[in-house]
Symmetry: C2
Protein backbone atom coordinates (compact mmCIF):
# COMPACT_ATOMS: atom_id res chain seq x y z
CA UNK A 1 0.00 0.00 0.00
CA UNK A 2 1.28 3.46 -0.94
CA UNK A 3 0.71 6.60 1.06
CA UNK A 4 -2.62 7.93 -0.21
CA UNK A 5 -2.17 10.55 -2.93
CA UNK A 6 -5.56 12.10 -2.20
CA UNK A 7 -8.69 11.54 -0.15
CA UNK A 8 -10.96 10.86 -3.12
CA UNK A 9 -10.16 9.75 -6.65
CA UNK A 10 -12.98 10.20 -9.16
CA UNK A 11 -12.73 8.37 -12.46
CA UNK A 12 -15.11 9.68 -15.12
CA UNK A 13 -15.65 7.02 -17.77
CA UNK A 14 -15.21 3.48 -16.47
CA UNK A 15 -13.91 1.66 -19.57
CA UNK A 16 -10.65 -0.24 -20.00
CA UNK A 17 -8.50 2.81 -19.20
CA UNK A 18 -10.54 4.29 -16.34
CA UNK A 19 -11.55 0.92 -14.94
CA UNK A 20 -7.98 -0.37 -14.87
CA UNK A 21 -6.80 2.80 -13.16
CA UNK A 22 -9.61 2.59 -10.57
CA UNK A 23 -8.86 -1.05 -9.83
CA UNK A 24 -5.09 -0.51 -9.60
CA UNK A 25 -5.52 2.64 -7.51
CA UNK A 26 -7.83 0.87 -5.11
CA UNK A 27 -5.44 -2.04 -4.68
CA UNK A 28 -2.50 0.34 -4.19
CA UNK A 29 -4.37 2.42 -1.62
CA UNK A 30 -3.88 5.58 -3.66
CA UNK A 31 -7.03 7.21 -2.29
CA UNK A 32 -9.26 6.62 0.70
CA UNK A 33 -12.17 6.36 -1.69
CA UNK A 34 -12.32 5.58 -5.42
CA UNK A 35 -15.44 6.88 -7.15
CA UNK A 36 -16.72 6.76 -10.71
CA UNK A 37 -19.20 8.44 -13.00
CA UNK A 38 -20.47 6.55 -16.04
CA UNK A 39 -23.35 7.07 -18.45
CA UNK A 40 -24.37 3.50 -17.73
CA UNK A 41 -25.81 2.38 -14.40
CA UNK A 42 -24.87 -1.17 -15.29
CA UNK A 43 -21.21 -0.15 -15.62
CA UNK A 44 -21.32 1.43 -12.15
CA UNK A 45 -22.96 -1.69 -10.75
CA UNK A 46 -20.32 -3.94 -12.35
CA UNK A 47 -17.56 -1.60 -11.15
CA UNK A 48 -18.76 -1.91 -7.54
CA UNK A 49 -19.39 -5.66 -7.79
CA UNK A 50 -15.95 -6.38 -9.23
CA UNK A 51 -14.14 -4.18 -6.73
CA UNK A 52 -13.01 -1.48 -9.15
CA UNK A 53 -14.67 1.36 -7.22
CA UNK A 54 -16.16 2.08 -3.82
CA UNK A 55 -19.18 3.86 -5.26
CA UNK A 56 -20.40 5.70 -8.31
CA UNK A 57 -23.28 7.29 -10.13
CA UNK A 58 -24.62 8.14 -13.56
CA UNK A 59 -25.21 11.73 -12.43
CA UNK A 60 -22.48 14.26 -11.75
CA UNK A 61 -23.97 16.34 -8.93
CA UNK A 62 -24.16 13.81 -6.13
CA UNK A 63 -20.58 12.64 -6.71
CA UNK A 64 -18.99 16.01 -7.39
CA UNK A 65 -20.48 17.56 -4.28
CA UNK A 66 -18.33 15.21 -2.19
CA UNK A 67 -15.04 16.35 -3.75
CA UNK A 68 -12.79 18.83 -1.99
CA UNK A 69 -9.64 20.76 -2.89
CA UNK A 70 -6.78 18.29 -3.43
CA UNK A 71 -9.01 15.44 -4.56
CA UNK A 72 -8.35 14.17 -8.09
CA UNK A 73 -10.60 13.76 -11.12
CA UNK A 74 -9.34 11.60 -14.01
CA UNK A 75 -11.33 12.01 -17.22
CA UNK A 76 -11.14 8.78 -19.23
CA UNK A 77 -14.09 9.18 -21.58
CA UNK A 78 -13.77 9.11 -25.39
CA UNK A 79 -11.61 12.00 -26.60
CA UNK A 80 -14.38 14.02 -28.27
CA UNK A 81 -16.59 13.96 -25.16
CA UNK A 82 -13.89 15.59 -23.00
CA UNK A 83 -15.17 19.18 -23.52
CA UNK A 84 -18.63 18.23 -22.21
CA UNK A 85 -17.08 16.51 -19.19
CA UNK A 86 -14.93 19.59 -18.48
CA UNK A 87 -18.11 21.67 -18.53
CA UNK A 88 -19.71 19.30 -16.03
CA UNK A 89 -16.81 19.45 -13.55
CA UNK A 90 -16.21 23.20 -13.86
CA UNK A 91 -17.47 24.08 -10.38
CA UNK A 92 -15.38 21.35 -8.71
CA UNK A 93 -12.22 22.51 -10.50
CA UNK A 94 -12.97 26.09 -9.41
CA UNK A 95 -12.79 24.99 -5.78
CA UNK A 96 -9.37 23.36 -6.18
CA UNK A 97 -10.05 19.80 -7.25
CA UNK A 98 -7.15 18.52 -9.37
CA UNK A 99 -8.08 17.60 -12.94
CA UNK A 100 -6.26 15.26 -15.29
CA UNK A 101 -7.25 13.09 -18.21
CA UNK A 102 -6.16 10.01 -20.15
CA UNK A 103 -6.99 11.11 -23.69
CA UNK A 104 -4.68 10.01 -26.52
CA UNK A 105 -4.42 13.53 -27.92
CA UNK A 106 -3.30 16.44 -25.76
CA UNK A 107 -3.58 19.54 -27.96
CA UNK A 108 -7.32 19.13 -28.39
CA UNK A 109 -7.83 18.55 -24.65
CA UNK A 110 -5.90 21.69 -23.75
CA UNK A 111 -7.87 23.68 -26.34
CA UNK A 112 -11.10 22.36 -24.80
CA UNK A 113 -9.94 23.37 -21.31
CA UNK A 114 -9.09 26.85 -22.55
CA UNK A 115 -12.58 27.20 -24.00
CA UNK A 116 -14.49 25.75 -21.05
CA UNK A 117 -12.52 27.27 -18.15
CA UNK A 118 -11.68 30.59 -19.79
CA UNK A 119 -8.12 30.39 -18.55
CA UNK A 120 -6.22 27.18 -17.93
CA UNK A 121 -6.64 26.13 -14.27
CA UNK A 122 -3.55 25.68 -12.04
CA UNK A 123 -5.01 22.31 -11.00
CA UNK A 124 -5.25 21.02 -14.57
CA UNK A 125 -2.53 18.56 -15.67
CA UNK A 126 -3.15 16.84 -19.03
CA UNK A 127 -1.89 13.25 -19.22
CA UNK A 128 -1.79 10.15 -21.39
CA UNK A 129 -1.01 6.61 -20.26
CA UNK A 130 0.74 4.75 -23.13
CA UNK A 131 -1.13 1.54 -22.53
CA UNK A 132 -4.18 -0.10 -23.89
CA UNK A 133 -5.56 -3.08 -25.63
CA UNK A 134 -7.83 -3.83 -28.53
CA UNK A 135 -10.31 -4.88 -25.82
CA UNK A 136 -12.58 -2.29 -24.29
CA UNK A 137 -15.21 -1.78 -21.61
CA UNK A 138 -15.32 -2.08 -17.83
CA UNK A 139 -15.03 -5.87 -17.89
CA UNK A 140 -11.67 -5.54 -19.73
CA UNK A 141 -10.15 -3.67 -16.75
CA UNK A 142 -6.77 -5.07 -15.66
CA UNK A 143 -5.01 -4.03 -12.46
CA UNK A 144 -1.60 -4.50 -14.11
CA UNK A 145 -2.38 -2.46 -17.24
CA UNK A 146 -0.05 0.41 -16.27
CA UNK A 147 2.73 -1.59 -14.70
CA UNK A 148 6.06 -0.63 -16.33
CA UNK A 149 4.13 1.42 -18.89
CA UNK A 150 4.90 5.06 -19.59
CA UNK A 151 2.53 7.88 -18.75
CA UNK A 152 3.20 11.18 -20.49
CA UNK A 153 2.14 14.34 -18.68
CA UNK A 154 1.95 17.55 -20.71
CA UNK A 155 1.57 20.25 -18.03
CA UNK A 156 0.49 23.68 -19.26
CA UNK A 157 2.25 26.91 -18.31
CA UNK A 158 -0.48 27.35 -15.69
CA UNK A 159 -0.19 23.89 -14.05
CA UNK A 160 0.92 24.17 -10.41
CA UNK A 161 3.84 22.13 -9.09
CA UNK A 162 1.53 20.60 -6.50
CA UNK A 163 -1.00 19.45 -9.09
CA UNK A 164 1.76 18.00 -11.32
CA UNK A 165 3.30 16.15 -8.36
CA UNK A 166 -0.08 14.74 -7.30
CA UNK A 167 -0.91 13.39 -10.76
CA UNK A 168 2.63 12.03 -11.09
CA UNK A 169 2.32 10.17 -7.78
CA UNK A 170 -1.06 8.77 -8.78
CA UNK A 171 0.38 7.10 -11.88
CA UNK A 172 3.58 6.02 -10.17
CA UNK A 173 1.50 4.32 -7.46
CA UNK A 174 -0.09 2.06 -10.08
CA UNK A 175 3.30 1.08 -11.48
CA UNK A 176 3.80 3.52 -14.36
CA UNK A 177 6.89 5.53 -15.30
CA UNK A 178 5.95 9.18 -15.66
CA UNK A 179 7.61 11.56 -18.12
CA UNK A 180 6.77 15.15 -19.07
CA UNK A 181 6.88 16.76 -22.49
CA UNK A 182 5.18 19.58 -24.41
CA UNK A 183 1.73 18.72 -25.74
CA UNK A 184 2.65 19.31 -29.39
CA UNK A 185 5.63 16.94 -29.20
CA UNK A 186 3.37 14.33 -27.56
CA UNK A 187 0.81 14.66 -30.36
CA UNK A 188 3.48 14.38 -33.05
CA UNK A 189 5.07 11.29 -31.45
CA UNK A 190 1.74 9.56 -30.95
CA UNK A 191 0.60 10.40 -34.48
CA UNK A 192 3.69 8.54 -35.74
CA UNK A 193 3.80 5.52 -33.45
CA UNK A 194 0.15 4.93 -32.66
CA UNK A 195 -2.40 6.86 -34.71
CA UNK A 196 -0.71 6.22 -38.08
CA UNK A 197 -0.29 2.45 -37.50
CA UNK A 198 -3.96 2.23 -36.49
CA UNK A 199 -5.22 3.91 -39.67
CA UNK A 200 -2.83 1.79 -41.78
CA UNK A 201 -4.13 -1.42 -40.21
CA UNK A 202 -7.80 -0.36 -40.42
CA UNK A 203 -7.34 0.58 -44.10
CA UNK A 204 -5.67 -2.73 -44.93
CA UNK A 205 -8.27 -4.96 -43.29
CA UNK A 206 -11.15 -2.93 -44.72
CA UNK A 207 -9.66 -3.12 -48.20
CA UNK A 208 -9.06 -6.88 -48.02
CA UNK A 209 -12.51 -7.46 -46.56
CA UNK A 210 -13.96 -5.81 -49.67
CA UNK A 211 -12.23 -8.22 -52.06
CA UNK A 212 -14.23 -10.99 -53.68
CA UNK A 213 -11.70 -13.52 -52.40
CA UNK A 214 -12.29 -12.44 -48.78
CA UNK A 215 -12.93 -15.89 -47.34
CA UNK A 216 -9.80 -17.26 -48.96
CA UNK A 217 -7.75 -14.25 -47.94
CA UNK A 218 -8.43 -14.70 -44.27
CA UNK A 219 -8.21 -18.47 -44.51
CA UNK A 220 -4.62 -18.33 -45.75
CA UNK A 221 -3.38 -15.44 -43.68
CA UNK A 222 -0.61 -16.31 -41.24
CA UNK A 223 0.82 -15.13 -37.94
CA UNK A 224 2.45 -12.07 -39.50
CA UNK A 225 -0.94 -10.87 -40.71
CA UNK A 226 -2.49 -11.60 -37.33
CA UNK A 227 0.06 -9.41 -35.50
CA UNK A 228 0.06 -6.68 -38.14
CA UNK A 229 -3.72 -6.32 -38.05
CA UNK A 230 -4.39 -6.85 -34.35
CA UNK A 231 -4.92 -3.11 -33.79
CA UNK A 232 -7.63 -3.11 -36.47
CA UNK A 233 -9.84 -4.83 -33.86
CA UNK A 234 -9.71 -1.67 -31.70
CA UNK A 235 -12.86 0.28 -30.84
CA UNK A 236 -13.97 2.19 -33.99
CA UNK A 237 -15.66 5.07 -32.13
CA UNK A 238 -12.64 5.64 -29.91
CA UNK A 239 -10.31 5.74 -32.89
CA UNK A 240 -12.68 7.93 -34.86
CA UNK A 241 -12.41 10.45 -32.02
CA UNK A 242 -8.62 10.17 -31.83
CA UNK A 243 -7.96 10.67 -35.54
CA UNK A 244 -10.19 13.75 -35.59
CA UNK A 245 -8.71 15.17 -32.38
CA UNK A 246 -5.17 14.80 -33.79
CA UNK A 247 -6.14 15.43 -37.38
CA UNK A 248 -3.39 17.79 -38.44
CA UNK A 249 -0.45 15.85 -36.99
CA UNK A 250 -1.92 12.60 -38.32
CA UNK A 251 -2.46 13.95 -41.84
CA UNK A 252 1.16 15.09 -41.89
CA UNK A 253 2.32 11.61 -40.88
CA UNK A 254 0.00 9.94 -43.40
CA UNK A 255 1.35 12.13 -46.21
CA UNK A 256 4.94 11.52 -45.23
CA UNK A 257 4.27 7.79 -45.05
CA UNK A 258 2.44 7.66 -48.38
CA UNK A 259 5.35 9.43 -50.09
CA UNK A 260 7.79 6.97 -48.54
CA UNK A 261 5.64 4.02 -49.59
CA UNK A 262 5.43 5.41 -53.12
CA UNK A 263 9.24 5.52 -53.28
CA UNK A 264 9.40 1.90 -52.19
CA UNK A 265 6.74 1.01 -54.77
CA UNK A 266 8.84 2.63 -57.50
CA UNK A 267 11.96 0.81 -56.32
CA UNK A 268 10.07 -2.51 -56.57
CA UNK A 269 8.63 -1.57 -59.98
CA UNK A 270 12.13 -0.78 -61.28
CA UNK A 271 13.69 -3.79 -59.53
CA UNK A 272 16.07 -1.42 -57.74
CA UNK A 273 17.57 -3.99 -55.40
CA UNK A 274 19.83 -1.52 -53.62
CA UNK A 275 16.92 0.77 -52.72
CA UNK A 276 14.69 -2.14 -51.64
CA UNK A 277 17.41 -3.70 -49.51
CA UNK A 278 18.18 -0.26 -48.06
CA UNK A 279 14.60 0.22 -46.79
CA UNK A 280 14.27 -3.34 -45.51
CA UNK A 281 17.69 -3.37 -43.80
CA UNK A 282 17.31 0.03 -42.11
CA UNK A 283 13.84 -0.99 -40.93
CA UNK A 284 15.08 -4.29 -39.52
CA UNK A 285 17.93 -2.56 -37.66
CA UNK A 286 15.53 0.01 -36.19
CA UNK A 287 12.95 -2.63 -35.26
CA UNK A 288 15.63 -4.78 -33.59
CA UNK A 289 16.70 -1.68 -31.63
CA UNK A 290 13.09 -1.08 -30.57
CA UNK A 291 12.72 -4.71 -29.45
CA UNK A 292 15.82 -4.24 -27.28
CA UNK A 293 14.49 -1.12 -25.51
CA UNK A 294 10.80 -2.05 -25.34
CA UNK A 295 9.96 -3.09 -21.81
CA UNK A 296 7.58 -5.97 -21.52
CA UNK A 297 5.40 -5.93 -18.44
CA UNK A 298 5.66 -9.00 -16.25
CA UNK A 299 2.24 -10.18 -17.29
CA UNK A 300 1.66 -10.47 -21.02
CA UNK A 301 -0.30 -7.66 -22.60
CA UNK A 302 -3.76 -8.95 -23.29
Amino acid sequence: MSTPVCERLLVIGLGLIGGSLALAARRAGVAREVLAISRSSQTIRLGVEHGLIDAGDTEYDAVLSRLQAGDVIVVSTPTLTVPAVFEAVKAAVARGVILTDAASVKGSVIAAAQTVFGELPATFVPGHPIAGSEKSGVMAAMPELYRKRRVILTPTAASSEHAIATVRHLWQAVGAEVVEMPADLHDELLAATSHLPHVLAYALVDELAGKSTQEDIFRFAAGGFRDFTRIAASDPQMWHDIVLANRDALLQEMDRYSAHLQQLRDAIAHEDSEAILGVFSRAKAARDHFAAIFKEPDSPEK
Copy 2:
Protein backbone atom coordinates in the same frame (compact mmCIF):
# COMPACT_ATOMS: atom_id res chain seq x y z
CA MET B 1 6.02 -42.46 -36.14
CA SER B 2 4.31 -42.28 -39.53
CA THR B 3 4.82 -44.72 -42.37
CA PRO B 4 7.82 -43.41 -44.27
CA VAL B 5 6.83 -41.26 -47.23
CA CYS B 6 10.12 -41.94 -49.00
CA GLU B 7 13.51 -43.54 -48.46
CA ARG B 8 15.47 -40.29 -48.54
CA LEU B 9 14.38 -36.71 -47.97
CA LEU B 10 16.84 -34.06 -49.16
CA VAL B 11 16.39 -30.50 -47.88
CA ILE B 12 18.33 -27.93 -49.90
CA GLY B 13 18.82 -24.79 -47.80
CA LEU B 14 18.85 -25.48 -44.06
CA GLY B 15 17.38 -22.25 -42.65
CA LEU B 16 14.28 -21.78 -40.51
CA ILE B 17 11.97 -23.31 -43.13
CA GLY B 18 14.19 -26.18 -44.31
CA GLY B 19 15.64 -26.85 -40.87
CA SER B 20 12.22 -27.02 -39.21
CA LEU B 21 10.96 -29.38 -41.91
CA ALA B 22 14.05 -31.62 -41.58
CA LEU B 23 13.72 -31.77 -37.79
CA ALA B 24 9.98 -32.43 -37.87
CA ALA B 25 10.35 -35.01 -40.65
CA ARG B 26 13.06 -36.82 -38.75
CA ARG B 27 11.01 -36.94 -35.57
CA ALA B 28 7.95 -38.15 -37.48
CA GLY B 29 9.91 -40.85 -39.31
CA VAL B 30 8.89 -39.47 -42.68
CA ALA B 31 12.02 -40.81 -44.40
CA ARG B 32 14.60 -43.42 -43.54
CA GLU B 33 17.25 -40.75 -44.02
CA VAL B 34 17.06 -36.95 -43.91
CA LEU B 35 19.83 -35.19 -45.83
CA ALA B 36 20.68 -31.56 -46.47
CA ILE B 37 22.73 -29.39 -48.77
CA SER B 38 23.82 -25.96 -47.56
CA ARG B 39 26.34 -23.42 -48.81
CA SER B 40 27.76 -23.38 -45.28
CA SER B 41 29.68 -26.32 -43.81
CA GLN B 42 28.96 -24.88 -40.35
CA THR B 43 25.23 -25.09 -41.03
CA ILE B 44 25.58 -28.76 -42.00
CA ARG B 45 27.64 -29.42 -38.88
CA LEU B 46 25.05 -27.69 -36.66
CA GLY B 47 22.25 -29.54 -38.44
CA VAL B 48 23.85 -32.90 -37.64
CA GLU B 49 24.80 -31.91 -34.08
CA HIS B 50 21.30 -30.70 -33.25
CA GLY B 51 19.61 -33.71 -34.78
CA LEU B 52 17.95 -31.94 -37.72
CA ILE B 53 19.54 -34.19 -40.34
CA ASP B 54 21.33 -37.51 -40.63
CA ALA B 55 24.00 -36.14 -42.95
CA GLY B 56 24.70 -33.36 -45.43
CA ASP B 57 27.22 -31.63 -47.61
CA THR B 58 28.06 -28.29 -49.17
CA GLU B 59 28.46 -29.98 -52.58
CA TYR B 60 25.59 -31.35 -54.62
CA ASP B 61 27.20 -34.36 -56.34
CA ALA B 62 27.93 -36.63 -53.39
CA VAL B 63 24.43 -36.18 -51.96
CA LEU B 64 22.46 -36.28 -55.20
CA SER B 65 24.18 -39.47 -56.36
CA ARG B 66 22.47 -41.28 -53.45
CA LEU B 67 18.94 -40.28 -54.47
CA GLN B 68 16.69 -42.67 -56.35
CA ALA B 69 13.30 -42.40 -58.05
CA GLY B 70 10.64 -41.72 -55.42
CA ASP B 71 12.96 -39.88 -53.05
CA VAL B 72 12.02 -36.25 -52.34
CA ILE B 73 13.94 -33.00 -52.71
CA VAL B 74 12.57 -29.91 -50.94
CA VAL B 75 14.14 -26.63 -52.11
CA SER B 76 14.03 -24.12 -49.27
CA THR B 77 16.64 -21.61 -50.38
CA PRO B 78 15.91 -17.90 -50.94
CA THR B 79 13.36 -17.42 -53.73
CA LEU B 80 15.72 -15.90 -56.28
CA THR B 81 18.27 -18.73 -55.94
CA VAL B 82 15.69 -21.39 -56.88
CA PRO B 83 16.58 -21.41 -60.63
CA ALA B 84 20.25 -22.19 -59.86
CA VAL B 85 19.20 -24.99 -57.49
CA PHE B 86 16.87 -26.44 -60.14
CA GLU B 87 19.81 -26.46 -62.54
CA ALA B 88 21.92 -28.34 -59.98
CA VAL B 89 19.29 -31.06 -59.36
CA LYS B 90 18.31 -31.50 -63.03
CA ALA B 91 19.87 -34.94 -63.45
CA ALA B 92 18.26 -36.29 -60.27
CA VAL B 93 14.83 -35.04 -61.35
CA ALA B 94 15.36 -36.68 -64.75
CA ARG B 95 15.68 -40.05 -63.05
CA GLY B 96 12.43 -39.70 -61.14
CA VAL B 97 13.29 -37.92 -57.89
CA ILE B 98 10.29 -35.90 -56.68
CA LEU B 99 10.89 -32.15 -56.49
CA THR B 100 9.03 -29.61 -54.41
CA ASP B 101 9.89 -26.25 -52.88
CA ALA B 102 8.88 -23.90 -50.08
CA ALA B 103 9.20 -20.55 -51.85
CA SER B 104 6.70 -17.81 -51.00
CA VAL B 105 5.93 -17.10 -54.64
CA LYS B 106 4.82 -19.84 -57.00
CA GLY B 107 4.55 -18.21 -60.44
CA SER B 108 8.26 -17.37 -60.54
CA VAL B 109 9.24 -20.88 -59.39
CA ILE B 110 7.13 -22.51 -62.09
CA ALA B 111 8.62 -20.16 -64.71
CA ALA B 112 12.10 -21.11 -63.51
CA ALA B 113 11.25 -24.82 -63.77
CA GLN B 114 9.96 -24.33 -67.30
CA THR B 115 13.23 -22.62 -68.28
CA VAL B 116 15.56 -25.09 -66.56
CA PHE B 117 13.80 -28.38 -67.32
CA GLY B 118 12.51 -27.46 -70.77
CA GLU B 119 9.13 -28.96 -69.98
CA LEU B 120 7.60 -29.18 -66.51
CA PRO B 121 8.53 -32.55 -64.91
CA ALA B 122 5.79 -34.92 -63.76
CA THR B 123 7.64 -35.20 -60.46
CA PHE B 124 7.60 -31.43 -59.81
CA VAL B 125 5.00 -30.18 -57.29
CA PRO B 126 5.40 -26.52 -56.25
CA GLY B 127 4.47 -25.81 -52.62
CA HIS B 128 4.39 -23.13 -49.95
CA PRO B 129 4.08 -23.67 -46.20
CA ILE B 130 2.20 -20.71 -44.68
CA ALA B 131 4.41 -20.54 -41.63
CA GLY B 132 7.44 -18.63 -40.59
CA SER B 133 8.88 -16.26 -38.10
CA GLU B 134 10.87 -13.06 -38.10
CA LYS B 135 13.74 -15.28 -36.91
CA SER B 136 15.93 -17.04 -39.45
CA GLY B 137 18.77 -19.51 -39.77
CA VAL B 138 19.33 -23.13 -38.86
CA MET B 139 19.37 -22.41 -35.11
CA ALA B 140 15.82 -20.99 -35.37
CA ALA B 141 14.47 -24.37 -36.54
CA MET B 142 11.39 -25.51 -34.61
CA PRO B 143 9.90 -29.01 -34.89
CA GLU B 144 6.39 -27.62 -34.34
CA LEU B 145 6.61 -24.85 -36.96
CA TYR B 146 4.16 -26.55 -39.34
CA ARG B 147 1.78 -28.00 -36.80
CA LYS B 148 -1.78 -26.92 -37.66
CA ARG B 149 -0.36 -24.59 -40.32
CA ARG B 150 -1.54 -24.62 -43.92
CA VAL B 151 0.64 -25.72 -46.79
CA ILE B 152 -0.52 -24.67 -50.24
CA LEU B 153 0.43 -26.92 -53.16
CA THR B 154 0.09 -25.50 -56.66
CA PRO B 155 0.52 -28.57 -58.90
CA THR B 156 1.14 -27.89 -62.58
CA ALA B 157 -0.78 -29.58 -65.39
CA ALA B 158 2.19 -31.97 -65.67
CA SER B 159 2.40 -32.97 -61.97
CA SER B 160 1.67 -36.67 -61.50
CA GLU B 161 -0.90 -37.88 -58.96
CA HIS B 162 1.83 -39.91 -57.27
CA ALA B 163 4.15 -36.92 -56.87
CA ILE B 164 1.31 -34.75 -55.54
CA ALA B 165 0.28 -37.46 -53.05
CA THR B 166 3.87 -37.93 -51.85
CA VAL B 167 4.43 -34.21 -51.22
CA ARG B 168 1.02 -33.97 -49.55
CA HIS B 169 1.86 -36.86 -47.19
CA LEU B 170 5.23 -35.30 -46.37
CA TRP B 171 3.61 -32.11 -45.10
CA GLN B 172 0.74 -33.90 -43.39
CA ALA B 173 3.26 -36.04 -41.52
CA VAL B 174 4.76 -32.91 -39.92
CA GLY B 175 1.33 -31.69 -38.82
CA ALA B 176 0.28 -29.37 -41.65
CA GLU B 177 -3.05 -29.09 -43.43
CA VAL B 178 -2.51 -29.32 -47.17
CA VAL B 179 -4.65 -27.50 -49.73
CA GLU B 180 -4.26 -27.12 -53.49
CA MET B 181 -4.92 -24.08 -55.65
CA PRO B 182 -3.71 -22.53 -58.91
CA ALA B 183 -0.35 -20.75 -58.68
CA ASP B 184 -1.73 -17.37 -59.75
CA LEU B 185 -4.45 -17.42 -57.06
CA HIS B 186 -1.78 -18.33 -54.50
CA ASP B 187 0.39 -15.41 -55.56
CA GLU B 188 -2.53 -12.98 -55.44
CA LEU B 189 -3.64 -14.17 -51.98
CA LEU B 190 -0.14 -14.00 -50.56
CA ALA B 191 0.52 -10.59 -52.10
CA ALA B 192 -2.50 -9.32 -50.16
CA THR B 193 -2.08 -11.03 -46.79
CA SER B 194 1.68 -11.34 -46.50
CA HIS B 195 3.80 -9.44 -49.02
CA LEU B 196 1.79 -6.21 -48.75
CA PRO B 197 1.80 -6.14 -44.90
CA HIS B 198 5.57 -6.72 -44.94
CA VAL B 199 6.29 -3.79 -47.25
CA LEU B 200 3.89 -1.59 -45.25
CA ALA B 201 5.67 -2.43 -41.99
CA TYR B 202 9.16 -2.06 -43.49
CA ALA B 203 8.22 1.32 -44.97
CA LEU B 204 6.78 2.57 -41.66
CA VAL B 205 9.74 1.61 -39.50
CA ASP B 206 12.25 2.91 -42.06
CA GLU B 207 10.39 6.21 -42.29
CA LEU B 208 10.17 6.65 -38.51
CA ALA B 209 13.83 5.65 -38.09
CA GLY B 210 14.75 8.53 -40.38
CA LYS B 211 13.00 11.14 -38.23
CA SER B 212 15.06 13.42 -36.02
CA THR B 213 12.96 12.36 -33.04
CA GLN B 214 13.84 8.68 -33.55
CA GLU B 215 14.96 7.93 -30.01
CA ASP B 216 11.81 9.47 -28.58
CA ILE B 217 9.61 7.75 -31.12
CA PHE B 218 10.74 4.29 -30.16
CA ARG B 219 10.84 5.17 -26.48
CA PHE B 220 7.15 6.02 -26.40
CA ALA B 221 5.87 3.38 -28.74
CA ALA B 222 3.48 0.88 -27.18
CA GLY B 223 2.31 -2.69 -27.63
CA GLY B 224 0.24 -1.87 -30.71
CA PHE B 225 3.35 -0.55 -32.46
CA ARG B 226 5.30 -3.61 -31.36
CA ASP B 227 2.79 -6.01 -32.91
CA PHE B 228 2.24 -3.93 -36.04
CA THR B 229 5.96 -3.70 -36.79
CA ARG B 230 7.08 -7.19 -35.74
CA ILE B 231 7.32 -8.35 -39.37
CA ALA B 232 9.71 -5.46 -40.12
CA ALA B 233 12.35 -7.51 -38.26
CA SER B 234 12.16 -10.19 -40.97
CA ASP B 235 15.21 -11.09 -43.09
CA PRO B 236 15.77 -8.24 -45.62
CA GLN B 237 17.38 -10.40 -48.32
CA MET B 238 14.59 -12.97 -48.15
CA TRP B 239 11.93 -10.29 -48.49
CA HIS B 240 13.84 -8.53 -51.24
CA ASP B 241 13.67 -11.77 -53.20
CA ILE B 242 9.97 -12.28 -52.47
CA VAL B 243 8.84 -8.78 -53.49
CA LEU B 244 10.76 -9.07 -56.78
CA ALA B 245 9.53 -12.60 -57.47
CA ASN B 246 5.89 -11.51 -56.93
CA ARG B 247 6.39 -7.99 -58.26
CA ASP B 248 3.33 -7.64 -60.45
CA ALA B 249 0.78 -9.00 -57.98
CA LEU B 250 2.38 -6.97 -55.17
CA LEU B 251 2.37 -3.71 -57.14
CA GLN B 252 -1.31 -4.23 -57.86
CA GLU B 253 -2.02 -4.71 -54.15
CA MET B 254 0.14 -1.71 -53.20
CA ASP B 255 -1.71 0.52 -55.66
CA ARG B 256 -5.09 -0.67 -54.49
CA TYR B 257 -4.06 -0.12 -50.87
CA SER B 258 -2.61 3.33 -51.52
CA ALA B 259 -5.84 4.42 -53.21
CA HIS B 260 -7.87 3.11 -50.28
CA LEU B 261 -5.58 4.87 -47.80
CA GLN B 262 -5.90 8.11 -49.77
CA GLN B 263 -9.69 7.88 -49.47
CA LEU B 264 -9.37 7.44 -45.72
CA ARG B 265 -6.95 10.37 -45.59
CA ASP B 266 -9.48 12.56 -47.38
CA ALA B 267 -12.27 11.44 -45.05
CA ILE B 268 -10.12 12.45 -42.06
CA ALA B 269 -9.16 15.76 -43.71
CA HIS B 270 -12.85 16.56 -44.29
CA GLU B 271 -13.90 15.23 -40.89
CA ASP B 272 -16.28 12.84 -42.65
CA SER B 273 -17.28 10.87 -39.56
CA GLU B 274 -19.53 8.48 -41.44
CA ALA B 275 -16.77 7.46 -43.86
CA ILE B 276 -14.17 7.12 -41.09
CA LEU B 277 -16.47 5.05 -38.90
CA GLY B 278 -17.39 2.97 -41.95
CA VAL B 279 -13.77 1.97 -42.60
CA PHE B 280 -12.96 1.36 -38.93
CA SER B 281 -16.14 -0.63 -38.23
CA ARG B 282 -15.91 -2.83 -41.32
CA ALA B 283 -12.24 -3.49 -40.52
CA LYS B 284 -13.01 -4.41 -36.92
CA ALA B 285 -15.77 -6.80 -37.98
CA ALA B 286 -13.48 -8.48 -40.53
CA ARG B 287 -10.56 -8.68 -38.07
CA ASP B 288 -12.82 -10.17 -35.40
CA HIS B 289 -13.95 -12.74 -37.97
CA PHE B 290 -10.32 -13.54 -38.80
CA ALA B 291 -9.49 -13.98 -35.11
CA ALA B 292 -12.34 -16.48 -34.85
CA ILE B 293 -11.13 -18.63 -37.76
CA PHE B 294 -7.37 -18.28 -37.23
CA LYS B 295 -6.06 -21.49 -35.74
CA GLU B 296 -3.39 -21.03 -33.13
CA PRO B 297 -0.90 -23.86 -32.92
CA ASP B 298 -0.64 -25.49 -29.51
CA SER B 299 2.75 -23.92 -28.92
CA PRO B 300 2.89 -20.16 -29.31
CA GLU B 301 4.39 -18.89 -32.54
CA LYS B 302 7.88 -17.66 -31.77
